[in-house]
Amino acid sequence: MKREPLAPSAGPTSVSPDDLRVRGLNSRQLLRGGDLQGITNPARLEGTELEKYVEESVMTTTLDKAVAWARSNSFFPATFGLACCAIEMMSIVAARVDVARFGFEAFRASPRQADLLILSGRVSIKMAPIVRRIYDQMLEPKWAISMGACCSSTGVFNNYALVPADKFMPVDVHVPGCPPRPEALMHGVLKLRKMVQDDPDMGWRERYGARGTEEVIPSPHATASVPLQGDASGA
């Protein structure tokens, strides 16, 4: 993933450290935590460097945000009903809690065309490798909602036959309930939507331990041009 820095716009944009955008970037870096080696800290930049830095990051952030908005409003859930929660998942497609209001009614049968896996029901040990295979067949970006108590933990049945979904696949949202009401599942899906909108980089690198695999192209403009989202601690 390479982020090419944009040529800074020629114009009377004078950026000072008190600028709202700079302050926003500062606080963002603070939230990401600690001193980031190699990352340009906007608090330490001055003058034209600061200007360029702000131009680059604001542009790419906005683009990311736009893409995230589009992605979050068009989840294609995969039809993956396992047990009782599947009936309540069918209820959200039904008329009372209408998932088509949000644009998520296109349940795809093929995992290759889906990006949201709503694990509804108990995952037995015989089914777990198959769920994992379906999840692997889905293309990035993909998200998983663990619906119900049985796949989040083992729910009512704490025994030899079940495995909680967290043990073999990364799950983004857990929806509690046995089975969760359709409104509760809707709340979970909308929470996921908000998560995707707010944080464009949904952390798939973190899930697969692939941090630092971003490809960096040294830019002729900035001093150190490294992806601005998240930390790049070690490869």
């Binding site: 040990i125 015989k126 933990s153 083992t154 704490n158 025994n159 030899y160 036959a161 079940l162 909680p164």
Partner: protein, 172 residues
């Protein structure tokens, strides 16, 4: 439901019907309005055929029980139903763990196919003569027979404050 005397009559008629001439019925029990015949495992097929002759033509259920710690430990229970007279009778076979073989009744009663496979899967009772005895509910390469009484229930440990450190592997 055959009442107690009816049950005894049936047991008497079955006596002497086994291929080796011995009485297949070991015990009769009349409990809560239902009759149960405890049968030796060699005679199970003939007993079921004789009962079919008496009208009990529908094999409702085949399931297993583990009588641990009483011996013989594993039991297979056949529930028969007479649809014409709405009558039910239960036939029971008990085998021990060292020799868990029972004749399969699937050739005569096709409904026992999956049900005997389930008893095999859950308890380990081997049905001789079953066309396709494989595990049905557990994965094919699973080891152990889950429904036995000495098989642990398993599952994840529930993490409370008193065992959270050892469960999560962290230092207190």
């Amino acid at each position: 439901m055959p009442d107690a005397t009816g049950l005894e009559l049936i047991a008497q008629e079955l006596a002497g019907s086994a291929p080796d001439g011995e009485d297949p019925v070991l015990q009769t029990l009349h409990f809560r309005g239902r009759g149960t015949l405890l049968v030796r495992r060699e005679g199970i097929r003939t007993v079921l055929e004789q009962l079919r002759g008496k009208g009990y033509g529908f094999l409702s259920s085949v399931h297993g029980v583990d009588h641990y710690p009483e011996e013989p430990r594993l039991g297979v229970i056949y529930e028969l139903l007479d649809m014409a007279r709405v009558d039910r009778i239960t036939v029971k076979v008990r085998v021990s763990l060292d020799d868990p073989h029972v004749d399969s009744v699937t050739p005569q009663w096709p409904t026992a196919d999956h049900q005997e496979r389930e008893v095999y899967d859950m308890f380990g009772v081997v049905f001789d003569g079953h066309p396709d005895l494989r595990r049905i509910l557990m994965p094919e390469d699973y080891e152990g027979h889950p429904q036995r009484r000495d098989f642990p229930v398993g599952g994840e440990p529930v993490i409370f404050t008193h065992n959270e450190n050892e469960a999560m592997g962290t230092e207190p």
